[in-house]
């Protein structure tokens, strides 16, 4: 009885209902309205991509009683339709444009399996609690990404909102390729931002460079006050158009939260702890990496998370220097007064921001040392 009750928890039932709903939606076929899609030969399609299976991942151990190594099996279950991209049912895919996206998605899923496997090897079962959030984050990413790649879904949704509009989907790029461009902008700029921000934050909290602390704070703060569009506009004549000027602007703009939180986090480490570490004979480097950074990691990671989420919004402005991303449909839609394009870009960017925020939240949880979050 108790095992039955554990199986059918309210949460499990909700997840189950969600999965059944998705399964049913897979068989509902809708007429395609976007003229471009119709021109490519797709007249009707299901609104749900067939890559929804990782949804089971969203549930910790409820729907399928997934535990331990079962995570792997379910993830593989989700990958199968992704890797086997030449599906016999062309209507369920977006046709020509859909396939590359699916293949790359398959690689991504495979990568996640590898990550999970490595984490599983690295951590003992005791720390499984730390691995699971990451795997679940990957599952959510897969589901949402598959919706990005499924153009009939956008067609169905935009048609529902703008029934009379002649144009629905953005005509020069698929949603998935826009998402790819946008994500690339955000990831590349964020990696550089974190590297620079962390280095700066660590440097100015060392005794030798402490006198630069006010200067660095001021510069980083002022970077935030300059309007992003102005930075983009200034960068374009200097570096030219395209990817890199947008990256430079994103770095300048995203630096503040990383540097500020690194400084706050490192300064907040209990001086008694550092005194003890020094007294025990740790070198300055050992104190930094083994004591200070782990204890400040929570605050530093919160800064990284803020920075990345800000960058998702800012990256939309990159469209003005031709760096691609969700800024493209927004800018073109505003120019040509095609509202579905504006909504498509804005909505997709918003979902991406929420998604990255969620994933980084999980990363934050996983990377924060257990001793700092444990309860008595």
């Amino acid at each position: 009885m108790s095992s039955v009750r554990r199986f059918f928890t309210p949460a499990a039932l909700v997840w189950l209902a969600f999965a059944v709903l998705l399964f049913l939606a897979m068989n509902v076929r809708e007429t395609i309205h976007d003229p471009q899609l119709r021109a490519s030969g797709v007249k009707e399609a299901t609104i749900v991509p067939d890559l929804w299976l990782p949804v089971f991942h969203l549930s910790p151990s409820t729907v399928l009683k997934i535990q331990g190594s079962d995570d792997l099996r379910v993830l593989t279950f989700g990958i199968l339709p992704a890797v086997v991209s030449d599906s016999p049912n062309p209507a369920a895919t977006t046709g020509a444009a859909g396939e590359p996206a699916r293949v790359s998605l398959g690689w991504f899923a495979l990568f996640m399996v590898l990550v999970e496997g490595l984490l599983g090897l690295f951590y003992s079962s005791r720390e499984e609690k730390l691995v699971r959030p990451l795997v679940r984050a990957a599952g959510i990413f897969l589901v949402i990404w598959s919706f990005y790649g499924h153009e009939p879904f956008w067609d169905w949704m935009l048609h529902g909102i703008f029934p009379t509009s002649p144009d629905l989907l953005y005509n020069s790029n698929t949603v998935i390729s826009l998402a790819g461009q946008h994500l690339t902008l955000v990831l590349v700029s964020s990696i550089i931002t974190v590297a620079i921000g962390l280095a700066l934050g660590i440097m100015v909290t060392r005794a030798e460079f402490r006198e630069f602390l006010p200067l660095v704070s001021d510069v980083v703060n002022s970077g935030q006050t300059v309007p992003t569009l102005a930075i983009v506009a200034i960068m374009a004549p200097i570096i030219g158009f395209g990817f890199w000027p947008a990256i430079v602007a994103l770095i300048l703009y995203g630096l503040l939260p990383v540097v500020r939180n690194t400084i706050v986090g490192l300064e907040g480490v209990d001086p008694a702890m550092i005194d003890a570490a020094r007294g025990m004979g740790m070198t300055a480097g050992q104190i930094l990496w083994q004591i200070e950074v782990p204890n400040a990691s929570r605050i530093i990671l919160a800064g990284v998370r803020t920075s990345v989420v800000i960058n998702v919004g800012t990256a939309a402005l990159g469209a003005y220097v031709g760096s691609g991303g969700f800024g493209n449909p927004i800018a073109s839609g505003l120019n040509q007064a095609i509202q579905p394009w504006v909504l498509l870009g804005a909505l997709s960017a918003a979902v991406l921001a929420i998604l990255l925020d969620y994933i980084l939240g999980r990363v934050e949880y996983v990377m924060t040392p257990k001793g700092l979050i444990i309860e008595r």
Partner: protein
């Protein structure tokens, strides 16, 4: 052995925290540095492992100038425990204690054996506590781990900066007693900083009283209490120093072993003869095993001249006697409370081993007083 030779510490702002300190810390002893705030006691201690640099003079550690070693290498050989404990919250108890052994490159087997050994030494069950995080421990347990961590790589020397300062008084007493027990077994050379004179008297084999960066008096607790060098030391150790001094002495060392005693099997006449023969007022009564059962005095023998049992004032040895391991101070307070002029001394089984008189204790205290005044 640690030797301070004319050590001076001047901070960049010109403040002279230590001015010409010369002091020898003996091997296997706890040397307490004590004094009012700002007297330079912590500064002096922190120069030993070079957490602070020495402005002038030198500190000899194990026969070598402590600046001959790289600072990190020196510190790994010197245990370090502080009032704020400074445990690393992101590391387990095991990882915390293993910090110095890992820095020294010990093998994991040896480390885990050492950690278990240390946890047992400080009274924490290894299996229960090894994988806990500091946040899961009470303050007292954390300080025990702090001490274990300082002992991690079995350093010959330890520096302890008010290690029990932030702990409630009851737990502090327990930790002090435990640490003294540990020290009996490990005999480390310890510099112990405190501002609490009672702690200093209890913990120290020798006490160095400092004032404004200079050493005022460096002596054993007994000498310090009996012969304070000047008014500052006298004030610092407190007006009750004679009593404190009694607190340093064990009853077993002070008692008179010859004491009039009668056995339960003997008669009232025997008791009378024993008392008169010794020229005293009373005698203790013991059973066949020598366990204290009560006492008889001249008055009670006069009232019951025929029966020893009737004449005897019966009493449990725990109530009328003092343990030989008790301090003279405890014996004095017991006598004052019970209104005795003489009290029997017993061992842990209640066997009478001697007696101690109020007068003897008074003389002891007065002797200290007189010595103090003449100095």
């Amino acid at each position: 052995m640690i030797e301070f030779q004319n050590v001076v510490k001047q901070f960049p702002d010109g403040f002279r925290a230590v001015s010409g300190l010369s002091l020898t810390v003996h091997d296997g002893e706890i040397t307490v540095l004590i004094g009012p705030s700002g007297c330079g006691k912590t500064t002096s201690m922190r120069m030993v492992n070079r957490l602070l640099s020495i402005t002038e003079g030198k500190i000899i550690v194990d026969g070598r100038d402590n600046r001959d070693f790289p600072a990190e290498e020196l510190r790994r050989k010197i245990g370090y425990a502080i009032q704020q404990i400074g445990l690393f919250p992101h590391m387990t108890v095991l990882q915390n204690i293993a910090v110095v052994p890992r820095l020294l490159g010990w093998e994991e087997d040896r480390i885990s054996r050492r950690v278990d050994e240390l946890l047992e030494l400080v009274g924490l069950e290894p299996d229960v506590n090894r994988d806990k995080y500091p946040r899961q421990l009470s303050g007292g347990q954390q300080q025990r781990v702090g001490v274990a961590r300082a002992l991690g790589a079995d350093p010959p020397i330890m520096l302890m900066d008010e290690p029990f300062g932030a702990i409630d008084p009851i737990t502090r007493e327990v930790l002090q007693d435990e640490f003294l027990e540990i020290q009996k077994r490990i005999s480390k050379t310890i510099i112990f900083v405190t501002h609490d004179i009672d702690e200093a008297i209890k913990m120290g084999d020798r006490i160095a009283i400092m004032r404004e960066g200079a050493l005022v008096q460096y002596d054993t607790p007994d000498t310090l209490l009996a012969r304070p060098r000047n008014r500052f030391v006298r004030d610092f150790v407190g007006a009750d120093r004679q009593l404190k001094r009694l607190g340093l002495m064990r009853v077993g060392e002070l008692m008179a072993k010859e004491t009039p005693v009668v056995s339960l099997r003997e008669t009232a006449d025997d008791a009378r003869r024993a008392i008169e023969g010794a020229g005293v007022k009373s005698a203790f009564v013991v059973d066949e095993e020598g366990v204290l059962k009560g006492w008889v005095d001249r008055e009670s023998l006069r009232e019951n001249p025929d029966s020893l049992l009737d004449a005897m004032n019966e009493g449990d040895f725990r109530e009328i006697g003092v343990r030989q391991s008790a301090t003279a101070r405890e014996a004095l307070s017991a006598m004052v409370a019970r209104g005795f002029r003489i009290t029997p001394v017993v061992n842990e089984h209640g066997v009478l081993v001697g007696s101690i008189t109020l007068r003897a204790l008074q003389e002891l205290a007065e002797q200290g007083w007189a010595e103090g005044e003449s100095a």
